[in-house]
């Protein structure tokens, strides 16, 4: 399979899957933006109205955090099951196993484009104006995508070998949401060393913080850390894809016999 065929295939699979999903629901494609908006709405009511959080511009703060976090969490959660749900196809054809998690990544990324546009509209209507700083979004999005591909492939293989990992990944995403500053500000942590450690070792916390720096606070993100994270994600992704290619038939045997 050539690279062109490979990408054309994941593109087709992703589009067909999105189409089928939209046909299942009365509100169809509208759910792409409705679901994330509902999340933001519920968090807003709980943390702002009920708990009275004092984070400035909390609605936008939350929208950036939650909408960018959903891209990661949803993709990895879905991708975790991508090999097992395609067991029928995997048991019938000798295909590159990375095809399945990558289709999920593309599918969720197409959906994320709509969410991202929604986020822009929200931010601009709220009075934030675009600036040159927004160009930082490109490297930030690329690094997040690399990280998503890496984590999605790892999740898919783990679940293929032992389904229990599916539950752990679901739980892991909830834990990650709590420790990544989705609905609270890392700058509020009194212990500076702890806040630094969180931004250094939790890539999602770092990315969400950087998105907010760029979109809401007019600050330049930590480019050096972003570069390191990008390089790590790239290498980790390439190694994982290579391993999936090399041990694809073992994965197939496991998926089909499970």
């Amino acid at each position: 399979m050539t690279a062109g065929q490979y990408f054309s295939l994941i593109d087709t699979m992703a589009r067909l899957s999105l189409k089928a999903e939209a046909q299942r629901y009365y509100l169809g494609y509208l759910w792409w933006v409705l679901e994330p908006l509902l999340w933001v709405g519920v968090f807003y009511v709980v943390f702002f109205q009920l708990l009275g959080t004092r984070t400035p511009d909390f609605l936008m703060f939350l929208a950036v955090g939650k909408l960018m976090f959903i891209w990661f969490s949803k993709t990895v959660n879905y991708a975790g099951n991508s090999l097992t749900t395609n067991a029928g196809l995997i048991g019938r054809m000798d295909l590159p196993k990375s095809l399945f998690p990558l289709t999920v990544v593309l599918e969720c990324s197409y959906r994320q484009v709509a969410v991202f546009l929604l986020l822009f509209v929200l931010i601009v209507t709220d009075g934030f104006s675009p600036s040159m700083l927004w160009f930082w979004l490109f490297p930030l999005l690329i690094v997040q995508l690399l990280l998503i591909v890496f984590c999605s492939c790892v999740a898919a293989v783990l679940v293929a070998f032992q389904r229990d990992f599916g539950l752990l990944i679901n739980l892991g995403m909830v834990f990650l949401m709590f420790v990544s500053g989705v609905f609270w500000d890392i700058r509020d942590i009194a212990n500076m060393a702890a806040a630094d450690a969180l931004l250094t070792w939790n890539p999602i916390a770092f990315l969400l913080h950087s998105y907010r720096q760029v979109l809401l606070w007019g600050e330049v993100p930590d480019g050096w850390h972003l570069l390191n994270l990008g390089l790590f994600s790239l290498v980790a992704m390439l190694v994982t894809l290579r391993l999936m290619q090399r041990y694809g038939a073992h994965v197939a045997r496991r998926v089909v016999s499970a």
């Binding site: 399979m1 065929q5 054309s8 295939l9 087709t12 699979m13 067909l16 899957s17 189409k19 089928a20 999903e21 046909q23 299942r24 029928g88 196809l89 995997i90 048991g91 019938r92 054809m93 000798d94 295909l95 032992q162 389904r163 038939a249 073992h250 197939a252 045997r253 496991r254 089909v256 016999s257 499970a258």
Partner: protein, 227 residues
């Protein structure tokens, strides 16, 4: 005709997952050569290893030990019942995917869709989600995609065993007449008539080993006497 598939000393076992872990030996030191254009009927009791053998031949599983060689230029498709379709997608979209998975470009694949739809005789159902299909309709779709995609090696796992009588006849006829003689077919089927009509070589698989390999009437006669 030259060999397209060669198996040498192939052994295969499955690790059982979950609470029932352990190993289950499915293929046992198996040697086999298949030449281009052969039509082979594979018989054996349930659990004899027929489906696993097809998957090893199709390159889907690596053997635990032994060697599997497949002609590098030949495409192979394994068609089995109820597997490999995406239930949410229509028959047409599934056919498109199947064609692209066989290595066709999107444009090439689109060109085949009408012919596939026609062969399946699914009518309006061709554009309905596959999850609404009966098993016979699924097998028609699977067979038509396999047949009309110019696959070099077709592995048919009980796919002609369901559906209505007329379509089964049409499918068997298509295997004999539509498929060009250079295509290789391995057919797993529990109805001996289908194997007699379609194949000229039969393999009897028992406990992961080849019990008998030869002309269809000879193998089937012994198989029928002993099972």
């Amino acid at each position: 005709m030259s060999a397209v598939i060669r198996l040498e000393g192939v052994t295969m076992s499955f690790g059982l997952s979950g609470a029932n872990s352990g190993e289950h030996q499915v293929l046992n030191n198996l040697d086999l050569e298949i030449r281009q254009g052969e039509r082979i009927g594979l018989v054996g009791r349930n659990g004899a290893g027929k489906s696993t053998l097809l998957r090893v031949i199709g390159g889907i599983f690596p053997p635990a030990t032994g060697k599997v060689w497949r002609h590098p230029d030949k495409t192979v498709a394994l068609l089995s019942l109820g597997l490999g379709f995406k239930g949410d997608l229509s028959g047409r979209d599934n056919a498109l995917l199947a064609a692209m998975l066989q290595g066709m470009s999107r444009r090439e694949a689109r060109k085949r869709l009408e012919a596939i739809g026609e062969f399946t005789e699914l009518g309006d159902f061709y554009d309905q989600p596959v999850k609404t299909y009966s098993s016979g309709m699924r097998s028609r779709l699977g067979f038509a995609t396999g047949l009309l995609l110019d696959t070099d090696i077709l592995l048919l796992d009980e796919i002609l065993a369901v559906g209505d009588h007329l379509f089964r006849q049409k499918a068997r006829l298509a295997l004999k007449e539509l498929l060009s003689p250079d295509k290789t077919v391995i057919l797993v089927h529990h109805i001996e008539q289908a194997i007699k009509e379609t194949c000229h070589r039969a393999l009897w698989l028992e406990s992961g080993k080849i019990r008998q390999d030869g002309a269809v009437p000879d193998v089937l006669a012994v198989y029928a006497a002993e099972t």
